[in-house]
């Protein structure tokens, strides 16, 4: 019989190795999936993992990696704070949408004025929008003990309706010949998050890097971060240490909401350009995978965000070149999280073959 035996100490080696093992397992089983679908698995894996970085058209795909990776990392960093404390914000997608709406709304309110202060105001607007949206589950949880998982998730759908309403109503481009969607912020210099469009650099990339650094300092060098980790490890001990659980919930949900809102703003002011019905593409949900793939560690999240962006871009190439269904790519990404969580158990447990007979 196979038994799992709890390790006296979490294994550091496995803690570092599990993401790699999970990626390998995903390649193997994803490859099997592609083979069953009648595609050449080796080629599919090569297209997904190799071509975007070193293939013939890598010059085009590499900037795309930054564009895709930045929002994932930014959102995942925020989520990781709550996840570490056992506070589950599943609704980053909604906060991302609201941040984009409020941030873009601030910018569009100034149109066509050109001024240096517009973009900073939009950044603040985006962060506040995401923060406020996350405060709904936070306050409900603190005040009434509701489940933040459900409330934050449900609010995603509310946010999506709001997004549709905005694209068709309040924020609709008056010069858009009746098409849904707002003015394109890429045509509005003061409200534009691009630093260098050719390199894929926009302020969201910068914000993601800053978030990684701040989160690292917070978690490792600051009392608040220590309390976040403590709450996740042992809630009762955290209370004994003096943590106010309510305040921690407000902080964690608020911070993750604000970062998701920022990601939405940078996205709408750059790569997407406009508020439209199909503005959101699931970054808020994928960021959950990124947060766990990165082991809730800031540097890990940075790497995981890059990896996830790679599978996004590689997946798109595989779709267009090999005709792989989009669902297969999503399954592939889901496998990654599945294997990560499955192998994660090896950090705290070791597998032993038990030959002793059970009495």
């Amino acid at each position: 019989m196979i038994v799992l035996e709890k390790r006296p100490q979490p294994s550091r080696a496995w803690s570092l190795a599990t993401p790699l093992v999970a990626v390998l397992a995903t390649m193997v089983f994803g490859g099997l999936l592609f083979a069953v679908l009648g595609k050449n698995p080796v080629e599919a894996i090569r297209i997904i993992f190799y071509d975007p970085l070193f293939g013939e058209f890598a010059f085009y795909y590499r900037p795309q990696l930054l564009v895709k990776g930045a929002p994932l990392v930014l959102i995942a960093i925020g989520l990781s704070l709550g996840f570490k404390a056992g506070i589950w914000n599943i609704g980053a997608e909604g906060q991302y949408i609201i941040g984009a709406i409020t941030g873009a709304g601030v910018g569009l309110a100034f149109y066509p004025l050109e001024a240096w202060y517009i973009f900073p105001l939009m950044v603040i607007g985006g962060a506040l929008g995401g923060w406020a949206w996350a405060m709904i589950p936070a306050l409900l949880k603190v005040r009434f003990g509701t489940n933040e998982i459900l409330v934050s998730l449900m609010l995603v759908y509310v946010a999506e309706q709001l997004l549709a309403s905005m694209s068709l109503g309040l924020l609709k481009n008056p010069d858009g010949f009746g098409f849904p969607g707002s003015r394109n912020l890429n045509d509005y210099a003061s409200a534009n998050s691009w630093i260098s469009q050719d390199a894929g650099m926009h302020w969201g990339v910068v914000a993601a890097m800053i978030a990684v650094i701040f989160s690292y300092i917070l978690l490792n060098r600051h009392m608040l971060g220590f309390h976040i980790r403590l709450t996740g490890e042992a809630p009762r001990a955290a209370k004994f240490a003096g943590v106010n659980p309510g305040r921690l919930i407000l902080f964690c949900l608020g911070a993750s909401g604000a970062l998701a809102g920022l990601a939405g703003l940078f996205e709408v002011a750059g790569p997407t350009g406009q508020i439209s019905i199909d503005f959101n593409v699931g970054y808020g949900f994928t960021a959950i995978i990124v947060a766990f793939l990165g082991r809730l560690h800031p540097v890990g999240i940075l790497l995981a965000g890059a990896l996830m962006a790679l599978t996004y871009i590689g997946g798109e190439i595989a779709q267009s070149q090999m005709g792989l269904p989009a669902a297969a790519i999503q399954v592939f990404q889901g496998m990654l999280l599945f294997f990560l969580l499955a192998f994660d158990i090896l950090t705290n447990y070791r597998v032993r073959l038990n030959t002793r007979k059970v009495a």
Partner: protein, 505 residues
Amino acid sequence: MTTPLLSLQGLTKAYPGVIANNNVSFDIGEGEVHALLGENGAGKSTLVKMIYGLVKPDSGQMLLRGQPFAPAEPRAARTDGVAMVFQHFSLFDALNVAENIALGMETPPPMRDLAAKIREVSEAYGLPLDPYRTVGDLSAGERQRVEIIRCLLQDPKLLIMDEPTSVLTPQEVEILFQTLQKLRAEGTSILYISHKLEEIRTLCDHATVLRLGENVGECTPADTTASEMAELMVGSSLKVPERAGKELGDVALDISGLSVPSPSAFGTALKNVHLSVRKGEVLGIGGVAGNGQDELLAVLSGETLTEADAVKLDGQPVGRLGPTQRRKLGLLSAPEERLGHAAAPDMSLTENAMLTGSVREGLETGGFLKWGEAEAFAEKIIKEFDVRTPGPDNAARSLSGGNLQKFVVGREVLQRPGVLVINQPTWGVDASAAASIRQAILDLAAGGAAVVCISQDLDELMEISDRFAALNEGRLSTPRDASGLTVEEIGLMMGGAHGMEVAHV
């Protein structure tokens, strides 16, 4: 002698790091009320779980009426006529009595028949119970009746009762005892687990005493005094040291008229607690587990907030202050549960030193943590309290219980508290470590700190306390000088009828 109903032979069960039962043997006769006596952690629960099929013994065997008996699961035990009433009930509040009982049956009869049966059994045994009442509206005593009747419907040969009176009022206890005597008269054997000595003397025919997982003696409770049984349980005669009158300082900690509702369904509400401790004094608080110890500690540590004036530190109201602010003022505490409450299991000792030490040891400036100094503090605790560990980088859960306890106590003691509140300071600690922890507490008091020590170990309390009080159902008896207290008096304060301790003052 006739074949006993159940014979336990050399039962042994070990969990990682602790032997819960070591070679325990005894017999339960037909129609006998057999007491299983022992302190918390003596291994009573593990033993009955083996009989009820919840836990498999590592070695040893059981014989039921001479036949080998090794239930793989509770269902098998029930089929063989063993029923158990647990300390905590497993009933659905929203369902009525009959529905709850039907849920526990393999093939429940139609509801109307069942209700009639319940009424019949409940009247036969003097446990009046309406089968159609909703369980949520029942008192603890009535809920227990549901559990008992659930067992009686199976017509058991052996009924195991795990501390049945811990949730009952004195009147309900009276009724329960009559029922149990009736059952005995009908030939049902009862294994009665308790540490309330007087109860056992009234009710039980025979008693087996467990200590640290071993059978340390058997006796006939009716012919044995409570203090003799207490000695068997504790392992040495209670020695009450003579104390020279010490010079005590001002009142350091003062609680007056403190009442706190129970934080959870299985918690205990604190009722009108008064206590004051002076500088240099150790107040020992005894009592059976679950009578408000955890709740009292939470009130003092700042985890439970109260009226500002209910808790005063050096005359200053602190009832509204959280743990961090209380630490700043010098009120420190060490909870009973080491893993998960006093310490975070998966965090290193350095991080656990930071957990309570950050304020008084200056391990942070402006919220930024000084890990170097935290590590130095952890090393200091390890060195001064002889914690056996490779180093401060190790996770708290890698330490043995006793070593972690030394760390947790040392962490608070080394922060030079003005008032230290400590729950079960030597719980599960080996004798030499326990002695050094007690010495540290005495040294602390000698240095002018006030100490509140909550413990279930009476020996320990008598050794270190200047004054002694007991918690009973959330009420604290009036503290009395520890010197000159007799075991009987302590017993009355701990578990006796309410108000009886007043007669002795």
